[in-house]
């Protein structure tokens, strides 16, 4: 009976006229900024079109606030229909404890392996050979967003890479601009640093530190250079006293700040503000130094539910999320890259095309949530929050603690 329903449900998505009954499914996520909300609305629209009902469970305040809520709901016996995580190690233990639903069957039937690209994305969802989540987008962190207006006001050309940006900082300051906008939340501080690593020290060092947890590399001269750059960033961001990332992006959009290091989700904000890539703002992947992007992103996990109707609806939702139309509609609004290699992306703008090109060349690396446990990430957050807020903390001192965290990580 159960699989019969699932079959009917799946057939709806495949285009035939379906009979699936309307089921409410609560979906929790932390997408609340303007661009993000617009993207979620696309998902909800597509899911509602299958005759089911998307109950939106957005939690504001970013992943660090939302994840504990998701987890305590799942472990506390009040699971939602589906929930967002960054795939990788965040939900690792929930999967191991058998609280999440196994989607291997559906994945094989629909041939996820054949169209999800890069395949490593699906690996992030796979535990012991079984698929537990649906990757929905590809996000990369390694972008520097620059405001053309700010540089025009300061009378300097828009920089082409990080070094030029640092050199332009005094001119920006003279014109009353904040050179680098950076929100005060911990993940943004750590994120910016993690972007500086591959840009300044290269992919090798990045992998040595985060994948192999090589203490010597973390204490070595390459990372020392990164800390020097972080010191520059700290000086440039000293006057930026906003908290949320989209407030910081807004400083760039309005030309009050020169630039921001932020993932490609910032793109959505520029789009909502009606700005045009290449004319109003520029984006430099890999900070313009090392065109290398990390492949991470968001994925949806489906907790095990008792209600058979909801279980069927979960499968519908999973298929809808991966359908070509939804992928394009969602990702264009979100500013991210679709997980399917076979969709038409003519509507993509300049920055997105740059990202697609790098992706096609295979200049990618796994992102920190895939490599580090949340415990390690939190320790890094603690370190960088202190580093960026304390001008008296020397880069050497910070590096010593950084190396200790890496040495103790697992």
């Amino acid at each position: 009976m159960n699989s019969f329903k699932a079959l009917i449900a799946a057939s709806t998505v495949l285009g035939t006229v379906g009979l699936a009954q309307a089921t409410d499914l609560e979906v929790t996520h932390w997408w609340t900024s303007g661009g993000e909300a617009a993207a979620v609305a696309e998902l909800a629209k597509a899911f509602d079109a299958t005759g089911n009902k998307w109950i939106d469970g957005a939690i504001a305040g970013g992943g660090n606030t939302a994840r504990p809520v998701f987890i305590s709901r799942i472990t506390g016996g009040d699971p939602m229909g589906a929930t967002q995580f960054n795939h990788g190690r965040q939900a690792e233990e929930l999967v191991q404890a058998g609280l999440m639903r196994d989607f291997t069957e559906l994945a094989e039937k629909e041939g996820w392996k054949n169209f999800i690209r890069p395949v490593s994305l699906l690996d992030g969802c796979t535990v012991d050979g079984k698929v537990y989540c649906v990757p929905i987008n590809i996000h990369s962190w390694q972008w520097l967003w620059l405001s053309h207006k700010a540089f025009a006001d300061a009378g300097v050309p828009v920089p082409k890479n990080w070094d030029e940006f640092v050199a332009a900082a005094p001119a920006l300051e003279k014109a009353g601009k904040i050179p680098l906008a950076m929100g005060g939340q911990a993940w943004q501080r750590t994120g910016a640093f993690n972007v500086l690593i591959p840009a300044i020290a290269g992919k090798e060092t990045y992998l040595k530190v985060y994948q192999d947890k090589d203490e010597a590399a973390a204490a070595g001269p390459e990372i020392a250079k990164v800390f020097k750059a972080a010191d520059d960033a700290r000086r440039m961001a000293a006057k930026s006293n906003v908290q949320d990332w989209n407030q910081a992006t807004n400083l760039v959009i309005t030309g009050q700040a020169g630039g921001q290091i932020m993932g490609d989700w910032a793109q959505g904000e520029f789009q909502v503000a009606g700005q045009v890539a290449g004319k109003d703002y520029s984006c430099l992947p890999g900070l313009g130094v090392n065109e290398l992007i990390s492949v991470g992103g968001d994925a949806f996990y489906f907790p095990k539910l008792k209600d058979p109707d909801k279980t069927a609806a979960q499968e519908v939702l999973a298929s809808v999320m991966l359908s070509p139309e939804t992928q394009v509609a969602f990702n264009l609004k979100k500013g991210s890259v679709p997980v399917r290699g076979d969709v038409d992306l003519n509507a993509a703008n300049d920055c997105m095309k740059k990202g697609l090109e790098i992706l096609a060349k295979g200049n990618t690396m796994p992102d920190p949530p895939r490599l580090n446990t949340e415990d390690t990430n939190n320790q890094l957050n603690d370190l960088f929050v202190e580093f960026f807020a304390t001008p008296s903390m020397t880069p050497e001192e910070a590096q010593k603690r950084y190396a200790e965290i890496i040495a103790n990580a697992d």
Partner: protein
């Protein structure tokens, strides 16, 4: 439970109804409070991550805890916040109560006004004071707009004084309650004592200091326990006002516990930190409880 008067023979069946009625509470106390505490302490010796698991790692979690700069900063902040909060809320609360006790007019109005902040949650208090202390539209902005251009009052964005910014909000919220408790205590002092003191020609401040305050000991003890428990668990105020920043300058232990248990998915580390918090409370409370109740319950 212990409602038999001292000196009478202890009988299991005396006040049977009351004893049966208190069984649910005894059960809750044993299972939820004591049981939960023991469970937490046990799991603080494991390497539990997102979900609790019994793999003992000895004192590793504690070693890591005490090697973490953020935890040390949290403890220091709690010490500063705690001692100042204790001293100031007791002093200010008592002074306000003594002033209200002078048979002034509109006493009810004043009492209500001063007690009102206590009706607000810490989150609201924190947000209100975050705005008041914000340099761009709070107190500093107001004074500057009056013409004092160089006026600077910016505690929440200065690492070395941010904890005092939180202290101000905490005092604003909590002093009213202390005042009311003190006022009740003052009202409990017999009029005759005042008359006797006046006949003997003892000045008012001396009467307060040497006669009234010692007589109010039980009220002080109650107040102390209420304030102290509030201090140890201070969390929401900090989250609303500064979220621990700038840097770690206003971190508190309860926030460390929450962050490591839930956000960092490291239950072991969070349990270790909360066990340390429990230990701190025990160090303060156990000797006090012993002095307070230990002697009295002995049947002579």
């Amino acid at each position: 439970m212990a409602n038999e008067a001292p000196g009478r023979p202890n009988s299991l069946f005396r006040n049977l109804n009351a004893k049966i009625a208190s069984i649910p509470m005894i059960f809750t106390a044993l299972v939820v409070f004591v049981g939960g505490t023991v469970w937490t302490v046990v799991y603080s010796f494991t390497n539990s991550r997102l979900l609790p698991r019994l793999q003992f790692v000895g004192l590793d979690q504690y070693d890591r805890l005490w090697a973490t700069p953020r935890w040390i900063a949290s403890i220091q902040n709690l010490l500063i916040y705690g001692s100042l909060s204790l001293v100031f809320s007791l002093t200010i609360g008592f002074l306000l109560a003594a002033l209200l006790d002078q048979k002034i007019r509109f006493e009810n109005t004043f009492r209500t006004i001063i007690l009102y902040p206590f009706a607000l949650s810490f989150i609201v208090t924190g947000l209100v004071w975050q705005w008041l202390l914000n340099p761009d539209f709070g107190v500093q902005h107001f004074v500057r707009s009056l013409g004092w251009e160089s006026f600077t009052f910016n505690p929440l964005y200065n690492q070395s004084i941010v904890i005092y910014g939180i202290l101000i909000a905490g005092l604003w919220q909590g002093t009213g309650l202390v005042m009311c408790l003190m006022l009740a205590g003052l009202r409990g002092i017999d009029e005759d004592i005042w008359k006797a003191a006046r006949v003997d020609g003892i000045p008012m401040w001396k009467t307060y200091l040497f006669i009234v305050i010692p007589m109010m000991r039980p009220v002080f003890v109650t107040t102390l326990v209420i304030i102290a428990s509030g201090i140890v668990r201070v969390y929401d105020l900090v989250v609303a006002q500064t979220s621990g920043g700038p840097g770690h300058a206003s971190e508190v232990p309860a926030k460390y516990v929450y962050d490591y248990m839930f956000s960092a998915q490291n239950l072991g580390q969070g349990f270790a930190a909360s066990t340390m918090m429990l230990l701190t409370v025990m160090i303060v409370v156990v000797p006090w409880a012993y002095l307070e109740f230990g002697g009295r319950n002995k049947r002579g």
